[in-house]
Amino acid sequence: MMEVDTPTEPTNFNRGGGGVTLTPEASRLFRVYKTVSSMLTKRGYMVSREMREMTPMSFTERFGEFPSREGLTILVEKPDDSTNQLFVFFPEDEKVGVKPIKILTDRMKDEQVSNAILVLRGDITPFAKQAVMEMSDSFRIEHFKEPELLVDITQHTLVPEHLVLSQNEKQELLKRYRLRETQLPRIQPNDPVARYYGMKRGQVVKIIRPSETAGRYVTYRVCL
């Protein structure tokens, strides 16, 4: 009389908007995918138009009603430098261990890609985190949790516009104010916005925010 549950059957849940009905899982993935594509665009990677303007409809068309995370993998490159490529992986596991990461890095090695973003369902094991840290010389692997990417935080009303400065612009700024790098206001490398832009230590971000007193105000923060 009793059976063990098999978690394949979908439960339909109307999100109450948009007209298109996605399963909760698919709608979650769609939102994450959408944020990832806008993140890549803002980081200056070439992102196809289809990806940038994806609707729930086209998402189901392309990835099916029950999209597999494997199929979502993205590979993008910078417009000026085709060797500067980046992978976005969506590992299936709830908790990503060393082994799946090993497989992914092997793939990166094969295709000679040095950057990657992991979009995690749940969490990453401490060992895996350590492994990623150790590899940071040859591979730069960032990891985001899925819940963090449900909403594009740079679109949030409280978050002003951030622009990452080039090395030249940074030197010019330091010269203008006669500053050492450490004398700039800071932003932490693990700050949500800094992670969104994939900022490295020493990079400077220009922040343009609306101001109550001046209308518009420009400030800078260095990632330290």
Binding site: M2, E3, G16, V151, V159, S211, R221, L224
Partner: protein, 715 residues
């Protein structure tokens, strides 16, 4: 002057002064009658509400239980009682009544004090509630057990004139005591806050490149207050020029009767041209100022249009526009150059100790905030802490705040049913709340049989069935520690009845402990399993607003978990904010936290009718975030902001800092204010900021007079 002052007081004393006596506050028989009517009507209403409460037919307020709803209703009724009785009293007084003169001219007292003397003292409160029970199930032995009627819960119907009854008197002392304790505690608390603020901000000064830096030369703001204007020189509402007043001044000092009035396009063109020629140097900081000038002249043009249209006779136009919207060419020139002078004069000067000024400007109004009054965030049941306790939370950057509230915008904000669905997805629902029974079964196997109450689930618009429940029992919600008995369950222990969506079995795991004990533990743990919603959220309330005639809904969520709420389906994550700073920092970054700090502080201050110049708040929020994380103005935060040992030692934990510095052989460059004071140097702030170098040319040695000349040796 001194004699004149004395003369004044003598004059007032003899001819114009007054005192007040009992006759000034004696209510007339008519007033007594009116008061009696008002009170008895109110008491009746209260009785009806209490009756409804006892029968259980009282309508629930959103987010409240039955007793809370009753208290809220009674609070409203009784508050109105005192108010209307007071109004009647004020109405009854003649204009010559002395207490009334005092209240109306603002020398001392308020209508509240008068109405308390004449009509009704009103409801007494302790801790924001009616007087709570001090005896077994009642406030005082004079009343019945569980009595909720107004007099039994601290409503003082008498006035100070008519005299309080014994019970009223004791309630009044209880309320009065809280007020006294509150002021005593608040002075100490605000004093400490002022000291900490001063320590954190003391060394900030404006430099010659217009940036605000601390003594370590680290930039805190690139431009002071975003526009480098001096808050003390603001004319109007934090803005440098009050245009209406300036217009009046110019039209009086330069009447220019022979010139022609400029209309519409001519005026705007003239202004445009002048702005382009003379005001461009103010950009980019003065962008808003230029906008203000333009919109002022646009208003003038609008006014001209209205005036002309309302004139039937063309000859009146000149007359009508004269004082309200006349602007000749000279006047425009004078107006603009005067505005420009005012703006340039209002710029802060290099060296200004903007930090110290800011610290004082924030902490001084803080001392004026009395009583920790609660405030309602839209819905009456959602209280927000305000006053000094809230200010303390923000300035300390506390991780745990007393009333965390997330304001969430909905994707579809015009649909109440939709709002309910979204709310159900956020508010936590436990298994115990949605199951109709949970039976122990001892038959061959031992297991718990659970039946979900599908009807209730449907009604509450939850998204729960046996499958989701099974997953929740097995996996739990992230970030929550689950009871050990649940962690011992594995896939095969939780079964779903074939073909059913609402029936589950939970088998007892095989362990050394007897099955019965495990069963008991399961029975305790299972009803608490959260089957839907966010674990850190306490409750959510739908708040209704009317926007342009149409109702619009948003959610107020009490609790933590901004990231989860933002990600919930149906929520517009981009417009969802919280009053919890640390959470903003963690999910949206420092910049967002910076914005929140200043807006939260100004929200508190506005609730008390205190206006603080935004530039001070911006400076404070920049100081709290310039290290990349939100630092509280506490000993831990200040230690991260500054390096100087002497400064830190003069703040708190003196020995620790000195000992540590001695151990590591630290150097202190002595450029901060505290260090300089300790060492007796001039502080490098204000006029002490720069040093003068003088080219030293060696002076010729003064001739040494001979002994004879000095007259030491007698010849």
């Amino acid at each position: 002057m001194d004699r004149f002052a004395r003369l004044c007081s003598r004059y007032f004393g003899f001819y114009r002064g007054f005192s007040i006596g009992i006759s000034d506050v004696s209510p007339s028989a008519k007033l007594r009658k009116v008061k009696y009517d008002i009170l008895s009507e109110g008491y009746e209403k209260a009785e009806v509400a209490i009756k409804k409460y006892e029968d259980g037919t009282l309508e629930l307020r959103p987010g409240c239980d039955l007793l809370q709803s009753l208290e809220e209703i009674l609070n409203g009724i009784l508050g109105k009682l005192r108010e209307s009785a007071g109004q009647e009293a004020m109405k009854a007084l003649p204009w010559s009544n002395t207490p009334r003169i005092m209240a109306e001219c603002g020398s001392k007292g308020s209508p509240l004090n008068i109405s308390q003397m004449m009509a009704c003292v009103g409801q007494q409160a302790v801790g924001g509630k009616r007087i709570q029970d001090g005896f077994v199930n009642r406030t005082l032995p004079h009343f019945q057990y569980h009595s909720l009627i107004p007099p039994a819960k601290g409503f003082v119907a008498n006035s100070f004139y008519s005299g309080l009854t014994a019970t009223e008197f004791i309630f009044h002392t209880m309320g009065g005591r809280e007020g006294l304790v509150d002021t005593a505690v608040k002075t100490a608390e605000t004093g400490y806050m002022a000291r900490r603020l001063m320590k954190a901000l003391e060394d900030l000064s404006l430099r010659y490149d217009n940036s605000v830096r601390n003594s370590e030369n680290t930039v805190v703001q690139f431009t002071y207050g975003d526009d480098s204007l001096d808050p003390s020189k603001m004319e109007n509402n934090d803005r440098p020029v009050q245009f209406d007043r300036l217009h009046l001044h110019i039209s009086q000092t330069f009447p220019c009767p022979d010139e022609k009035n400029l209309y519409k396009k001519d005026l705007l063109d003239k202004v445009e041209q002048a702005l382009d020629e003379r005001f461009q140097s103010l950009l980019p900081k003065g962008k808003k100022f230029l906008g203000e000038i333009q919109s002022f002249f646009e208003d003038i043009v609008e006014k001209q249009k209205e005036t002309i249209e309302s004139c039937e006779n063309a000859s009146f136009i000149q007359q009508r526009t004269w004082n309200s919207c006349r602007f000749t060419e000279t006047q425009v020139d004078e107006f603009l150059s005067s505005a420009l002078t005012k703006y340039t004069k209002a710029l802060v000067e290099p060296g200004e100790a903007v930090g110290a000024i800011g610290a004082q400007s924030i902490s001084e109004p803080g001392t004026q905030m009395t009583l920790k009054t609660f405030h309602f965030a839209g819905v009456s049941s959602m209280n927000v802490t305000l006053g000094v306790p809230r200010l303390k939370e923000i300035i300390n950057a506390s991780k745990n705040i007393s009333t965390p509230i997330i304001t969430a915008r909905l994707v579809q904000d015009n649909n109440k049913v939709g709002a309910r669905i979204v709310k159900a997805g956020i508010e936590k629902t436990t298994l115990g709340e949605v199951c109709s029974y949970m039976k122990e079964v001892y038959h061959e196997e031992c297991y718990l049989s659970i039946q979900l109450d599908m009807e209730a689930i449907e009604q509450l618009r939850l998204n729960i069935d046996a499958r989701t429940v099974r997953r929740c029992i097995l996996k739990g919600i992230r970030g929550q520690t689950r009871p050990p008995i649940l962690r011992g369950l594995s896939e095969r222990h939780v079964l779903i009845k074939k073909g059913s969506k609402s029936k589950l079995r939970v088998l007892v795991p095989e362990k050394d402990t007897p099955a019965f004990f495990q069963m008991t533990a399961l029975k305790v743990a299972l009803p608490r399993v959260i089957v839907q919603g966010i674990a850190t959220v306490n409750r959510a309330v739908i708040n209704e607003e009317t926007k342009g005639g149409n109702p619009s809904y948003h959610l107020l969520v009490e609790g933590y978990g901004l990231a989860e709420v933002m990600g919930s389906p149906g929520i517009d994550g981009r417009h969802t904010t919280t009053n919890h700073l640390i959470e903003v920092e963690q999910t949206l970054g420092v910049e967002a936290a910076r914005t929140s700090i200043s807006s939260e502080i100004s929200y508190i201050m506005n609730a008390y009718g205190i206006g603080i110049d935004t530039r001070h708040l911006l400076l404070l929020s920049d100081v709290m975030t310039f290290k990349g994380e939100v630092l509280g103005i506490t000993r831990f935060g200040v230690a991260k902001m500054r390096e100087s040992v002497l400064m830190l030692a003069s703040f708190e934990k003196t020995t620790d800092h000195l000992f540590d510095a001695a151990c590591h052989g630290r150097t202190d460059t002595i450029d901060g204010v505290s260090e300089c004071i300790i060492m007796g140097k001039a502080a490098p702030i204000g006029t002490g900021m720069f040093k003068l170098l003088k080219r030293a040319t060696r002076a010729a040695k003064p001739p040494v007079p001979s002994i004879m000349e000095r007259g030491l040796l007698l010849a």
